[in-house]
Amino acid sequence: MSGPGALLAVLALAGVAIAVPWLTPDRLRSPLSGGASALLGLGGVAAGVAAMGGAGGVLTLPLVVPATAGLDPVTLAPTPLGGVFLVVAGGVGALAAFFGIGYAHGPAASRTAWSAYAAFLLGMLLVPAAADVLSFLLAWELMAVASTVLVLADHAVRPTVRSATLWYAVMTHLSFLLLLAGFAVLAAGAGGTAFERIAAAQASGPAASVAFVLLVLGFGTKAGLVPLHVWLPRAHPEAPSHVSAAMSAAMVKMGVYGILLTLGLLAPGPQWWGFGLLVLGCASALYGVLQAAVNSDLKRLLAYSTSENVGLIVTALGVGVLLGDAGQRRVAEVAIVAALLLVVSHAAFKTALFLGAGSILHVTGERDLDRLGGLVHTHPFTAISFGLGAMGATALPITSGFVAEWVLLQALVHGDGRADRLIAVTLPLAMGVVALTVGLGLLTFVKAWAIAFLARPRSERAANPDHAQGSHDHSITMIAGLVVSGALVVALGFAAGPLSVELARAAGVGGVERVGLLGVAFPAVGVLLEPAALTLLALAIAVPFAAYNAVLRVRRPRRDTELPWGCGGVRTSPRMEYTATSYAEPLVRIFGASLDPTRQLTVEHPEGNPLLVSRVTFSQRLVDVIEQRAYLPVKRAVLRLGDAARLVQNGSIHRYLAFSFVALLLVLAVVSL
């Protein structure tokens, strides 16, 4: 497709997908609406692929714009870079919608919810297609409002949904305000709102720095960067899981797109821009992964992991900007490719993980890891798909995450610190942060996968899945969604070469080549990675091993036993197993200062015998330290201000009339001056 055809198709499909839920009977609503939304997503993918090939087309929307205000027409014209994000948003949106056909029930399958989902998806597709500030902000707001409606879906069932939605609404509009201010600074300087005009103006100086800070903070809020992440761990767990997947895997990426857009609109700035991005990214990565490692709520854990991954992406961008400023363009290009690979990879594995979490929630009604276990026997598809997603998240070979983090580490290791002391210190530290993030991420996902799927069930609901209240068996669409998203994680890892080359071309950077069958090479820094060769080596070792093992198996088959060792005792209760909380206990101790856990341990003794123990109670509460220390004081101050305002409003009509009279006098006085 070329020209505006793909864009028109997206708009038409969106119209259909928004209307379908209102026109279909209840029984067919989920299949038809989900199918329509999935088609819309695929349309977005097609438009994105066209845009990546440079044939995105231009579509000027006939919206009424006051001609005097210095506004350019509302135009959609996706750039190749926007095309990447179109593909990501469309693909994730389609998969999540397809999964939602079987998953959504109750309020999440209502007319409003399905319609809002389509609108949300449309918003996500229009953001990277926008070619001017006005259409960008309109699309951004559509995305924000529709997703707020979706987060609110279950508000009648769980009261926590309401507070989560409030947090989300406040933060997302804070983001909008910051963006409005940032773009206003740029548009005022450029004398128009088209991105082309703004980029041509090449803003620099203090105005550019102000716009940079406003825009990065605005986009960072959406992207879930620490310390602006507070909405993520609240909204993601409360939204229906397919919506969480779309929000986490696609919507937060729009924040990343925004940061890339900002960098493209501005002339290269002072060194602290890159350094600031790097610090913001590293802080998010570390804080996110630490919180994810100690959390036991599966979806909350995944939400923090989103913060972590966006942190890694922004770290890569920061390295790119920092090295680009220092004149090391070739290494900077590697970092930019790493950032885009991380975007695509996170989209793939976070979809698999959230859909898997949704599937667990669906069959057990639980998202507390401490109460799960043993699901690998009853739900093998979920186990494998979630497992592949977890492998991607932990950058194990050969997955998309592995390739992306390999490229990021190559960018870090090849940056030359000899010329600049700041770089000489920041690059190794960034490398340490990335490495620690990877390490803690491993712990997090070993915990998440193994506690949920292995060993024995830790609760009645996990022991008898599918019989949980209000849930039903897995439908074919859910299984298909799981399998496709899991397979994508691996496929994108194997397609390292073609994927990297396409992404580099879309971002307009060079220095990437294909090598071998599927491999990727960065000739400028002299490194290459060939997944096919690595697989061949693994097979060359695994096949003889398997053959030898098969011989051994024939000779001495495995024997079933009720009690292998059990440390000398009969296994009594699953309560003796390690839980997610106990798994992370050493970390909570080590990082106690930054996690600030509240623990209570009470030991009770039998009457008159202080040496024996009759009962031990332990409870631990972990809170988000940043939320506690930075946001709650502000909230309390606002509430106090509200209380103070009550002093002048005592309900007396006479007093209000007096206020009006004084106000009138003031106005007259001002006018007469």
Binding site: V446, A533, A538, R556, T561, P564, P586, R589
Partner: protein, 315 residues
């Protein structure tokens, strides 16, 4: 050329497989002798492995495919690491360089396999070992990468073969402060990663202090044999990497038969000597309390970080 390099990879695997039980045997024997006991001789790990391989494994009710997949994943990943790391010769296949980050990722597959196995058994011990193992792995990660980063700066590459080859040609590079700091840091993390004292006691059983043993407690028969062999191979690979970085002499830079023979001999001597040294030192060391381990690892991280900044700012 490529066929010769393939032969090198195969030779590395064979040598490592043959040498690894001997390395463990030597380490145990040195330790027992220093403690005034007779010891079973250096070939005991070989005999143990052969015996375990012939025995049947058990499957507990409620266990899953992780039970047999984890030992297999551990062995395959360990053997891959042994093939990738330049142990006896530095040349690598053009499409399969001994890239540091790839090696670390493959090692992590084994780490994760062990941790999953620990949780699979569903006993308190397994979970405890798994949790501690992953915590140590997570804290080790930054030091490993930064230490090799420091060593890679003079060679400007993350390919281990090139780094070792460049250290071989430039003897002064081996003795720079940055290089020494990095080697010390790397050595500490190898001890931690392979479960040696003072981080984990390889000789301990059924104590609340154990890490590695706790995870494999429920495995038996050939599962146990593979788990032990896989873990030992990791020690061979990592210790081999450290000795080759610290003292690269003897490693072959060309895949010729004569060079390989020298490489094998030099590697065997270096590895066994390093193993004997570690075992001798272990006699005088007590295991650190688990929550003191992060301090040790943080110390090694600082060394590695100093090594990087030193090689940028001093050189």
């Amino acid at each position: 050329m490529n066929a010769a390099v393939l032969a090198v990879l195969a030779a590395q695997v064979v040598v490592a497989l043959a040498l690894t039980p001997l390395l463990i045997g030597v380490m145990r024997q040195v330790r027992t002798r220093l403690e005034g006991r007779a010891g079973p001789g250096v070939w005991q790990p070989w005999r143990d492995t052969v015996k375990l391989l012939a025995k049947e494994p058990l499957r507990a009710a409620g266990s899953s495919w992780v039970l047999w997949l984890a030992p297999a994943a551990l062995v395959v990943s360990s053997v891959m690491v042994v093939a990738l790391i330049p142990l006896i010769a530095t040349p690598a296949l053009p499409l399969l360089p001994a890239d540091l980050f790839v090696v670390v990722s493959v090692l992590l597959v084994g780490t994760v396999a062990l941790a999953l196995l620990g949780l699979e058994s569903g006993t308190a011990f397994g979970g405890m070992g798994s949790s501690r193992h992953m915590m140590i792995a997570a804290l080790v990660e930054p030091t490993v990468l930064i230490a090799v980063y420091a060593l890679s700066i003079p060679a400007a590459t993350s390919s281990l073969g090139t780094i070792i080859a460049s250290r071989l040609t430039d003897v002064t590079a081996v003795m720079t402060p940055a290089g020494l700091l990095a080697i010390v840091a790397l050595f500490v993390v190898v001890l931690a990663e392979c479960g040696r004292l003072p981080v984990d006691n390889p000789a301990t059983h059924l104590e609340l202090t154990m890490v590695h043993e706790a995870m494999i407690l429920e495995s038996g028969g050939r599962d146990l044999a593979w788990l032990e062999l896989g873990s030992w191979l990791r020690l061979t690979a990592l210790l081999g990497l450290v000795v080759n970085l610290a003292a690269p002499w003897g490693i072959a830079t060309e895949p010729t038969p004569a060079g390989l023979a020298v490489g094998v001999a030099a590697f065997s001597v270096k590895l066994l000597a390093a193993g004997a040294g570690i075992a001798a030192a272990e006699v005088f060391l007590a295991k650190l309390r688990l929550f003191r381990v992060p301090e040790l690892l943080a110390g090694s991280f600082v060394l590695a970080f100093l090594a990087v900044t030193a090689s940028y700012l001093v050189a």
